[in-house]
């Protein structure tokens, strides 16, 4: 471990705000596009199923 304590880990040598915001934004954005893809996939499948059941 490069840090002695958890507090130091959060502080990131006074760069905490930069490091954690960069990671936070990245996680949220990647989670967002993943979720978007999954939701769209489910929507398309549900719509197709409806259409097939109607015919």
């Amino acid at each position: 471990m490069a840090f002695d304590s958890l507090a130091e880990f959060w502080a990131m040598g006074n760069y905490g705000a930069y490091v954690w915001s960069a990671y936070g934004i990245s996680f949220v954005t990647i989670a967002f596009i993943t979720l978007l893809s999954v939701v769209k996939g489910r929507k398309v499948r549900a719509e197709l199923r409806q259409r097939y059941l109607r015919d």
Binding site: M1, A2, F3, F9, M12, G13, N14, Y15, Y18, V19, S21, A22, Y23, I25, S26, T29, I30, I33, T34, S37, V38, K40, G41, R42, V44, R45, A46, L48, R49, R51, Y52, L53
Partner: protein, 248 residues
């Protein structure tokens, strides 16, 4: 036994079966690798003697920037494949990968400028690397905007293929021009990443992070392509069977 099976990937049905088997394992192994590498990079890699702990942004910035470029490379090649061989899967690939590439370019920009603040003292520098990623992002947005504005599907596929191909040809020219322009304006800008001085404990998590993110994006792209295949081929009987049998 030969590599001829790769031809079959051009058939939507074969591709669907193939990707259905592999998308999920690829996606989750990528997720695992990325999380592992990011944890390692954040907590265990040593501090940089010059930049302190701010350099840890690298573990997300570098994979994002590399993926943004690789996705465009793949997209441009897919454009060529679509124009030459009319392979439907190539168009589907472009459609599926463009938003992911755009997100990666955007992340590279955002993390780059967050990293730039402690390193350069400002959020934005007209640095060659950042500027070319900005243009890459605009190229992606162009492809997405074109895809969304053209309602006729056949035309939209062809148009995005042409645009990605021209963009791919243009990409090296953009990079070269931006670098040339950058040296003209500001001869000595501090580079964010110094390659030769990086010790093994620093770049090993980076390599794993890059690998993980590539796998993650590959899995996500395959998954997105499956959705587009179903939508495009909804008249085929195998799609009907697939949707009705396997649910959601």
């Amino acid at each position: 036994m030969s590599w001829l099976w790769i031809h079959k990937l051009g058939s939507p049905k074969f591709f669907y079966g193939f990707s259905k088997r592999f998308a999920t394992p690829i996606f989750f192994s990528g997720l695992l690798f990325s999380l592992l590498a990011l944890g390692w990079g954040l907590g265990f890699a040593p501090s940089d003697y010059q930049q302190g702990d701010s350099y840890r942004i690298m573990y997300i910035h570098v994979p994002a920037a590399m993926l943004a470029q690789s996705c465009y490379l793949a997209m441009g090649i897919a454009g060529l494949v679509f124009l030459v061989w009319q392979m439907k899967m190539a168009a589907i690939f472009i459609q599926a990968v463009a938003p992911i590439g755009a997100v990666m370019a955007l992340l590279a920009l955002v993390t780059g400028s967050i990293w730039g603040k402690p390193t350069w003292g400002t959020w934005w520098v007209w640095d060659a690397r950042l500027t070319s990623v900005l243009l890459l992002w605009i190229l992606y947005m162009g492809v997405i905007a074109l895809q969304n504005s053209l309602e006729e599907k056949v035309l939209a596929n062809k148009a995005t293929a042409v645009l990605s191909l021209v963009g791919l040809i243009n990409l090296p020219i953009i990079k070269y021009s931006v670098e040339w322009w950058n040296t003209l304006h500001q001869p000595a800008s501090l580079s964010l990443i110094e390659k030769p001085t990086m010790p093994m404990e620093m770049w090993l998590p980076l390599v794993i992070s890059i690998l993980g993110m590539y796998l993650f994006v590959a899995g996500l792209t395959l998954w997105r392509m499956q959705t587009h295949v179903l939508l495009n081929e909804h008249k085929a009987s195998w799609v009907k069977k697939e949707v009705l049998n396997n649910g959601i």
